[in-house]
Every structure is written in C-alpha cells, then in structure tokens.
C-alpha cells in the first residue's frame, strides 16, 4: 500500500515537471521586478503577430524578446533603457503607446478630431431641427387646414375597421 502511494507520487511529480517545462518560468529578485516585466511585456508589440503584445504571443520572436527583456531587468536596466533598446532595433512600431511625433500626431489626435467633427454636425442638425419645428406659431396655414379637413371628411365617410 505504501509502495503504491510512493509510486503514484513519483508518477504525479514526473507529470508535473513535464507540464512545468512547457511554461517559461522567469525568476525575479523582487516582486517589483516581476511587475515591471509584466508591465513591459504587455506594452511591447510582437512584430510577428502584430496584434499581440510580446507577453501574449507564443511566436518564437516574442519568446526571444521576453527573454531579452527579462535579462535586461535582471541586469538592473531601467524601463526607459529597455524600451530604447527595442526601439533602436524595431522602431516605434514595437510600442503600443508610440511617442507623439509629427508622424504619429494624427494617430493621437484622430479620435478627438472625430469627436469634434461629430459634435459639430450633431449640433448643426439639432439647431436646424429646432429652427424648423419652432418656425411660425405652430398654427396651420389656410392651405394646410383645408387639406386636413378634406382628410378628416374622407375618413369619416369611409370608416375602416
């Protein structure tokens, strides 16, 4: 019985070590380093998949870049140094939050510009609406009154169920 348990334990441990090997495990000196690693790998874009961060991606390049970021953090480099290292090699594209430059100005200002344009047209639409509905005192002109009467008479003659 005891032997059977020992065997089971050994088996479970073997399986556990296999599943561990599939996940990369980085060991950090402090929780603060680990937090920085998570923060950075979430903000850096994987160049292969282009819509995933290097933290999310399983691409080989993303794995290499994670390892690179990890080693730089362990070596005591600052976030700015690590970001500069990657930008020097891959350009601003590697950043999910690119710096504001003349080429990215539209990217940053675009949403606000669109809101402004939308607001402009919305306000204009409302103004013209208000202007047309409140034009005059709401009374019908003689012509309109005649048409209304005619319609009412018609419906009185021909009451539909």
């Amino acid at each position: 019985m005891n032997r059977g348990r020992a065997l089971l334990l050994a088996l479970l441990l073997a399986v556990a070590s296999v599943s561990w090997a599939a996940i990369e495990s980085f060991e950090f000196d402090s929780p603060e380093q680990e937090a920085r690693f998570k923060q950075l790998s979430g903000e850096l874009r994987c160049l292969v998949c282009q819509n995933q961060s290097i933290g999310d991606s399983n691409a080989e390049l993303a794995q290499d870049l994670r390892r690179e970021v990890y080693q730089m953090i362990k070596a005591g480099q600052s976030d700015a140094e690590i970001v500069d290292f990657l930008v020097a090699r891959y350009g601003d594209f590697v950043l999910y939050r690119p710096p504001v430059t003349t080429t990215t100005a539209l990217l940053w200002a675009g949403p606000f510009l669109l809101i402004a344009i939308g607001l402009f047209f919305l306000l204009r639409f409302i103004r013209t609406r208000v202007a047309t509905t409140t034009a005059g005192d709401g009374a019908l002109s003689a012509e309109e009154q005649a048409r209304l009467d005619a319609l009412l008479q018609n419906s009185a003659k021909d009451p539909r169920p």
């Binding site: 292969v48 080989e60 390049l61 290499d64 690179e68 020097a88 090699r89 891959y90 594209f93």
Partner: protein
C-alpha cells in the same frame, strides 16, 4: 436635393475602388501591410561576430561587409519562403553580381548544412545564429529578410519576404547601381 441619396452610394463606390486598388497593389507586391521600415535604415549595420556555418573555427561578422556593396540574407532551413527565393539567389551568385552573406537564423547546424547541400549554397559565407541574438540586433522579425549594406557598412535597405526576380529588378537593382556610383 435628390442627389443627397446618392452620397452613401458614392462613398461605397469610392471605398470599393480604394480596396480594389490596394488589393491589386498587394498582389503585385508593391504594397505589403506587414512590411515595416527598418529602424536601422541609413545606420551602421549592427556589429556582430558569429561562427561560420560550415566551419565553427572561422568567424563571420561585420568586417566582411566593409569595402563592397553586399547583400545580407537572413534564412533558415525551416523557412518555407526561403525555398521560394533560393533559386534566384543561386542565379545571382552564379552571375557574380553581388556578394551575398547569409545569417542562418535559429536553426540547427545539421539542418542548415543539409539544406545547402540539397539546394546549393549561394552565400560567400553564412553566419550561424543559433539563438537568434544577432537577428534581434538587426531588427529581424520574420524570415526571410534581406538587407543591402553599402561600402561603408551602412544598412541602405531592408526587404522582408522572398526576393524574386521582379522584386530584384524593381527595388534592388536601382539602389545597388546608385550605391556603386556613390563615392565611398
């Protein structure tokens, strides 16, 4: 006033036209939405020193580029598109038009050598970058990638994707002719 109702149709038509144009450009290889400009354009090629693929005792590195206009092609035996461009590089190597250096990227030596054995070796020398560390320095994000390095050792162009004859004639040839005419 009736023309107002045609506005959405006109916008739709314009979009169809735009998409059709861009798709055509993509099919013709003129436009690649995944192509990124190299951050290293017009900058000195990152220095490196790696063992030669054929002979680990020898090394291949930055000094090989100095003094001539050359190509630096990142390849791997596991890369499908590399097989596409390979016959053209063989042709280029036979013509002796330009020296081609290779970076064997994240590969095993045995696989890489077998690949060259089967398909031919167009490279003056191939550097063996098993860990892909030099690839990171060069900003490589996909294989194949081909760099044009000028006489002073500066990167003048980066082309991701397979180099075919059409691509060569349109994008490489004019640049190389220009680089050769430059003082250097």
């Amino acid at each position: 006033m009736k023309a107002r109702f045609l506005v959405p149709l006109a916008i739709f038509g314009a979009l169809v036209g735009l998409f059709w144009f861009m798709l055509n450009q993509m099919n013709a290889g003129e436009y690649n939405p995944r192509e990124l400009p190299s951050a290293l354009l017009d900058k000195p090629a990152p220095t490196f020193e790696l063992p030669d693929l054929h002979d680990p005792a020898k090394s291949v590195g930055t000094p090989n580029f100095i003094g001539q206009v050359s190509l630096f092609n990142v390849w791997a035996s596991w890369c499908v598109s590399c097989r596409v461009e390979h016959p053209f590089f063989m042709e280029l190597a036979r013509s002796g038009e330009i020296p081609i250096y290779g970076l064997n990227y994240k590969d095993t030596r045995a696989d890489a050598l077998r690949w060259l054995d089967q398909l031919g070796d167009p490279y003056v020398a191939s550097a063996f970058d098993e860990a892909g560390r030099v690839g990171i320095d060069w900003g490589v994000y996909g294989v194949p990638e081909t760099f044009v390095v000028d006489r002073a050792g500066k990167i003048r162009m980066r082309f991701p994707g397979p180099v075919t004859r059409e691509v060569w004639e349109r994008r490489f040839s004019p640049l190389i002719a220009q680089l050769r005419s430059e003082q250097g």
